[in-house]
């Protein structure tokens, strides 16, 4: 029997995420911690398995160690399969044309042989830096129903922010007549979410043509999609309604974490039918003795201090008299007695010693001129010494 997969997903996870500064000094953006117990890549991977897609290529390039180790054999997402499953696809050496991935389209192009192993009808292209829950199967059904060559997921954004996105200009029937990458004068508020379904044969054809074009930047948004549009291929928009957030910047990452708080949060993770899977750590339940208000706390915590409006990752120790307010603590963080962390994002394995002060009250901090909207960022593995001080908006990746 010939074995094949109807749809193969390709997850672009190679980006550096330079606007996350210290958080991505040593790890790729999709491996950045999110929401106390997750990593960003949990979202697209879980969406895949929850949509019935069990074959996923993860394209890595920048600092892949943590990401590779985290994805592993894919078991936490039920993606350990005898045929299909999750595969890490890193750039490789070939007889000629040895190269790094030179853009999103080139990364997919270099892995055409991977996709062809599964003889798919459709290919789903995903990004590794978005927080959302989506049923790709519904999008695939729409793609099939329209007999489309390419379907682009999109959502409405406020008009004044539209120029930050790839904007789709569509006809009433949902077909796309124009695609504009970050237009200065947007004609529509429909932003591309960077999620594409291609009919596989068309994708392979246009990727091969794009590769031969020396003027191309090898980018989906800039080159491949416009080329298909110009050639008159059938391109459809697919409206997504629900929570979706690009967490490519410090402030958007902070906001997305805060969106998890509250009994009725902006983004709900507790529903049981579309569970976000993750490589759950083996820590015991959190021990809580202090004051924890409007916050989420992952397992393994020893919480004896005060926590307000914050996201506390796995195995964090908040000592008596310590205070964490409006902050995101990623995991394995110790905040010692008398220390105060305010309006900050703290990466994994950080120790904040006694009476140290990190960040400033949000109301004050947002007035500070900084690259992060006043959010203080502590990089992985550092120690803030006793009585140490890190000001609002500072990005620190060395001991202070």
């Amino acid at each position: 029997m010939l074995r094949k997969k109807e749809c193969v997903a390709m997850l672009l996870a190679g980006g550096q995420g330079s606007r996350l500064y210290a958080l991505t000094s040593n790890i790729a953006k999709p491996a950045v911690s999110f929401g106390a117990k997750y990593r960003i890549i949990d979202f697209p991977l879980s969406n895949c398995i929850n949509s019935g897609i069990d074959t996923v290529g993860v394209l890595t390039q920048y600092q892949p160690l943590v990401l590779n180790e985290y994805v592993g054999n894919g078991q936490p997402w039920d993606l350990d399969r005898t045929f299909g499953g999750v595969h890490i696809l890193s750039p490789y050496e070939a007889k000629k044309d040895t190269s790094w991935y030179k853009g999103t389209a080139n990364a997919i192009y270099q892995n055409i042989r991977f996709m062809k192993m599964y003889d798919p009808e459709y290919v789903l292209i995903l990004s590794g830096d978005h927080i959302y829950k989506m049923d790709y199967d519904k999008m695939l059904a729409a793609h099939k129903a329209a007999n489309a060559d390419c379907t682009i997921a999109c959502m409405q954004v406020p008009m004044k922010e539209a120029s930050r996105f790839g904007i789709l200009n569509t006809n009433p029937d949902g077909t796309i007549y124009e695609f504009e990458e970050k237009p200065k004068q947007p004609k529509s508020d429909l932003a591309s979410m960077g999620i594409y379904i291609f009919t596989a044969s068309k994708l392979f054809k246009y990727l091969e043509e794009d590769d031969k074009n020396p003027d191309s930047e090898k980018d989906f948004g800039k080159n491949v999609l416009p080329a298909m549009l110009n050639a008159g291929e059938k391109m459809y928009s697919y409206r997504f309604e629900g929570y979706w957030k690009d967490v490519g910047t410090i402030s958007s990452l902070w906001e997305a974490n805060m969106d998890l708080l509250g009994v009725v949060p902006n983004f709900e993770l507790t529903d049981t039918d579309r569970v976000i899977h993750s490589r759950s750590p083996l820590a015991p339940p959190a021990f809580v003795e202090g004051e924890v208000i409007n916050s989420i706390v992952a397992t393994g915590g020893e919480i004896e201090g005060k926590i307000v409006n914050s996201v506390i990752g796995t195995n964090c120790v908040i000592e008596k008299g310590a205070e964490v307010v409006d902050s995101v603590l990623m995991g394995n963080i110790t905040v010692k007695a008398g220390a105060k962390v305010t309006y900050s994002i703290v990466d994994e394995d950080v120790t904040i010693c006694e009476k140290a002060v990190v960040g400033t009250d949000k109301a004050e901090a947002v007035k500070v001129e900084s690259k992060t909207n006043g959010i203080t960022v502590l990089g992985r593995g550092i120690t803030v010494s006793k009585n140490g001080k890190v000001a609002a908006g500072e990005i620190v990746d060395k001991n202070v």
Partner: protein
């Protein structure tokens, strides 16, 4: 290094906690927020370097199987060895095993196949962290036939405990099957090490002689004929043999030192469930409690162990309670000394109370 195979009795002593074992075997009794009792013996084995474990089951082992699955969470899903379930085995004359000896008889095929030199037998009704390889080292050093692990404590309940006396070299000089009297004794914790071949000979011999009790017919008289040695375990040990001891053993985890000993240093493996992190509402007040993933707390919680997915409504006050997975407590309830099995719902404004020695028990899936 000596190679070792493990055998776990997952259903032994079920009659001691009928409330909790009505719907499951001893090994799958939920404990400590996210664990099952079997996790402790099984993790001890894995952390001792044992990679082949036979698990003897009896009846109602559906929830146990659901928990351990292929054994992958213990790294025991192996091509060679791994976790092997040993369901009740019967020839024409026997049906379900009635005691430990008959249970072992059913495991003989597994043990014969085992290539490992030594075997560790352990029950699954206790919470403790013990490196079994240390017991085997002692076993080899003493040239023992059988090494039995004991823990010194005051006798709580006597009917299945064995207690022994030893000489100064740890050689067992007397085994009491039904120890009585007050005071600290050397209580056998049902962890035993032997050479695999020796254990097989013992079982074979017992079958031939029609013995019915491993303790009474083999171990107790064996004091004279075999080299039986004792190994002292002096860490934290909690045997779950009643609802009261179940309550106490859960509450013990609120002590930092106990948590450190049981969970620090080496992991306790368990089935992973991808619940979202615990959520504390603006109205939450939580003191001295363990809170698992998936909990949503809007009320007051003090001295409690909350399992995964427990919801505590607004205005409710929950003190000294153990609420198992997916318990839902409505608004303005008052709960004290309640042990509630999985999936129960407690409606708004209910007031339920037990006491420390007799917690109020709520059956699995109740609506109150």
């Amino acid at each position: 290094m000596a190679t070792t195979v493990g055998v776990i009795f997952s259903s032994i002593n079920e009659e001691d906690i009928p409330e909790l074992t009505k719907v499951r075997s001893t090994g799958s009794v939920p404990y400590g927020g996210r664990y099952r009792l079997v996790d402790f013996a099984l993790s001890n084995m894995v952390n001792s370097g044992i990679t082949t474990v036979g698990m003897i089951t009896k009846n109602n082992y559906q929830s146990l199987m659901d928990h351990i699955g292929s054994g992958k969470y213990w790294d025991l899903a192996r091509k060679d060895g791994g976790l092997i379930l040993l369901p009740p085995y019967s020839d024409e004359t026997e049906t379900l095993y009635k005691n430990r000896l008959e249970a072992l008889k059913g495991a003989m095929a597994f043990l014969r196949k085992a290539k490992e030199d030594f075997v560790v037998l352990a029950d699954s009704d206790a919470v403790y962290k013990l490196d079994y390889s240390k017991v085997i080292e002692a076993h080899i050093a003493k040239n023992a036939d059988i090494t039995m692990v004991y823990h010194e404590h005051e006798l709580v309940k006597s009917h299945y405990y064995m207690a022994f006396e030893t000489d100064k070299n740890d050689k067992i000089t007397d085994i009491q099957i039904n120890p009585t009297g007050k005071g600290v004794k050397k209580n056998y914790i049902n962890v035993m090490v032997a050479r695999t071949s020796f254990l097989l000979r013992l079982i074979q011999d017992a079958i031939q002689h029609g013995y019915t009790s491993f303790g009474k017919d083999i171990l107790s008289p064996g004091v004279k004929t075999y080299n039986l040695y004792a190994y002292k375990f002096d860490g934290y040990y909690a045997n779950i043999c009643s609802l009261e001891s179940y309550f106490k053993a859960n509450m013990a985890l609120l002590d930092k030192n106990v948590r450190q000993e049981i969970f620090g240093d080496r992991d306790v493996y368990t089935k992973v469930n991808d619940s979202a992190p615990a959520k504390f509402a603006a109205s939450a007040v939580v003191k001295n409690s363990l809170v698992s993933d998936g909990c949503v707390i809007e009320g007051t919680v003090e001295n409690c162990v909350l399992f995964r997915g427990v919801k505590i409504g607004k205005g409710s006050v929950v003190k000294n309670c153990i609420l198992m997975t997916d318990n839902i407590v409505g608004d303005n309830c008052k709960l004290a000394y309640v042990v509630s099995d999985k999936n129960s719902v407690i409606r708004d404004k209910r007031e339920l109370a037990g006491c420390e020695v007799q917690p109020y028990f709520i059956n699995k899936g109740s609506l109150i």
